[in-house]
């Protein structure tokens, strides 16, 4: 069954201007910010992250998402999207160096951001190119500081591309963490093996299951291959998407 929710996109075209002209949106483009305000004091943190935090905090305050001004009664949630955090685009070298200059900037940024999100009507989704980060300790800390962590692992360029088990899919979805907020229990789903398929107008996530073994001619070796692949389902990690829930009620 297909639902209409959230499936209005076409990756071969850019978004039509009418779609976003009617809503209020803000952007943060680092090169632009740098030219507008060449020097900004950011204590003990990568300056791009510091500027981004200031920008987010300013928007939250000015648009009333923190409930500080009862006049500006917000009925909406501020949705924030941050792309390629931790990469060179943000002036961070953890993606290109074995010994980064400042391994704490990213996690400090996430902690302050978490505070901002908890104190306001906002939600944030972040993508991080985890496969580029040599220092795995950073990714463990990033996971602990996030509410929801989902990993996308593409088959392109890996040996799984030719594996018959995966022929219908483009990659795997790893749910690494789910939020446990305001409750002792959390909603863990039964399914742990998920795969995704990316088409021009559709992104689907489906349960991965071994195909039925119907033919007598399926030799023993290929059965073992399938079983071996099934064991590998939970390893590896490509680009990561992280969502942070918001509030505080």
């Amino acid at each position: 069954t297909s639902t209409k929710f959230g499936h209005y996109y076409d990756v071969s075209k850019t978004m039509s201007p009418e779609l976003f002209q009617s809503i209020k949106w803000h952007s943060f483009y680092l090169p632009e910010e740098l030219s507008l305000q060449p020097t900004v004091k950011t204590c003990n943190m990568n300056s791009a992250y510091g500027r981004l935090l200031l920008s987010i905090q300013r928007i939250i305050y000015q648009e009333g998402f923190d409930g500080s001004d009862p006049q500006k009664k917000q009925k909406n949630i501020l949705r924030i999207g941050i792309q390629s955090l931790g990469s060179l685009l943000w002036g961070d070298d953890i993606c290109c160096s074995d010994t980064p200059e400042d391994i704490h900037s990213l996690t400090k940024f996430l902690y302050v951001l978490r505070g901002l999100l908890r104190k306001s009507l906002s939600a944030c989704i972040i993508t991080i190119p985890a496969h580029l980060i040599e220092n795995k300790a950073i990714m463990e800390r990033v996971t602990n500081l996030s509410d929801t962590v989902v990993g996308l692992e593409s088959f392109i360029g890996s040996e799984r591309e030719t594996n018959p088990l995966y022929k219908d899919y483009h990659g795997l979805v790893h749910v690494r963490q789910i939020p446990r907020l305001n409750s002792l229990i959390c909603d863990v789903s039964d399914t742990k093996d998920l795969a995704f398929r990316l088409k021009r107008k559709l992104f689907t996530i489906e349960r991965l299951h071994l195909p039925p073994d119907l033919s007598d001619t399926v030799s023993r070796t290929s059965k073992q291959e399938l079983a071996g692949s099934a064991k590998l389902l939970s390893s590896g990690c490509g680009a990561m998407a992280i969502g942070k829930k918001h509030l505080d009620f």
Binding site: N44, K108, G115, K119, R141, F249
Partner: protein, 250 residues
């Protein structure tokens, strides 16, 4: 009295133990200083209410001192005004270049040192969770020093208890965190180690808890006592049972 309990989780979330100890000590009438680094006050309050305790009421009557780390960090980062009430921000190490946790320790010490009008039973320091301090720029030595100072004041001088939660993953590459966790294990009187099942997720058994009473620290020649149970978390409760004897199985 004077005990240091370490809560440790691997492959799962051990924070249900934090909620348990918080409501347990509040109900017992102890003065509690809760350093809550990862979640907001309302998160703990909502869960505490399910366990029968109101954190707001405890704060109002002076029984609970709650440090909401996320909020303090925001004050530090965006606050234009100088420190209100003359007290330095407990998390000032995040923005300072000298990363020592003295301000945090002073906060704990001041919170738990009894005033003459206090009639609470022994003080308790609760930390959720210590691993966050490493993410914020504190070195392992600084974190261990902080814990050491807290032990001297809270456990030895004030005869109170400390309960600290740390995360540790098997095959973790976070060497700094492993260092802190291992060091704390050596010095703990009681270790509660919560682990997800090695066989993967199960609806009826959420994990296993290994309780180690460090009797060996008392130097009487006895060995540590280790007990292992399995548990299932419910909305208002956690049930423990012997391994293999989950209600779903019997």
């Amino acid at each position: 009295q004077g005990k240091f309990t370490l809560l440790r989780d691997t492959r799962t979330d051990g924070s249900f133990l934090v909620h348990h100890f918080l409501s347990f000590y509040l109900r017992a009438g102890c003065k509690v200083c809760f350093v809550a680094l990862l979640q907001s006050f309302s998160h703990y309050n909502i869960i505490a209410q399910k366990l029968g305790v109101s954190l707001t009421a405890a704060k109002e009557r002076g029984q609970l001192v709650f440090l909401e780390g996320l909020k303090s960090c925001l004050d530090l980062w965006f606050g234009e005004q100088e420190e209100q009430s003359g007290q330095p921000n407990p998390l000032q190490f995040i923005s300072e270049s000298t990363s020592d946790l003295k301000a945090l320790f002073d906060f704990v010490r001041v919170s738990l040192t009894p005033a003459s009008s206090d009639s609470w039973k022994g003080p308790v320091l609760l930390v959720d969770d210590l691993s966050v301090l490493l993410s914020l720029g504190a070195t392992p030595v600084v974190v261990l020093d902080f814990i050491h100072y807290c032990r001297v004041v809270v456990c030895s001088q004030l005869k109170g208890n400390i309960v600290v939660l740390v995360h540790s993953n098997e095959d973790s590459e976070d060497e700094e965190n492993e260092l802190v966790v291992n060091s704390l294990c050596h010095h703990s009187d009681l270790i509660l180690w919560v682990e997800g099942l090695a066989t993967g997720f199960c609806k009826d058994v959420h994990g296993q808890i290994k309780i180690t009473r460090r009797v060996s620290l008392e130097l009487t020649g006895e060995q540590d006592v280790i007990q292992i149970y399995q548990y299932k978390i419910q909305d208002k409760n956690v049930t423990f049972f012997a391994r293999g004897l989950s209600a779903a199985v019997l």
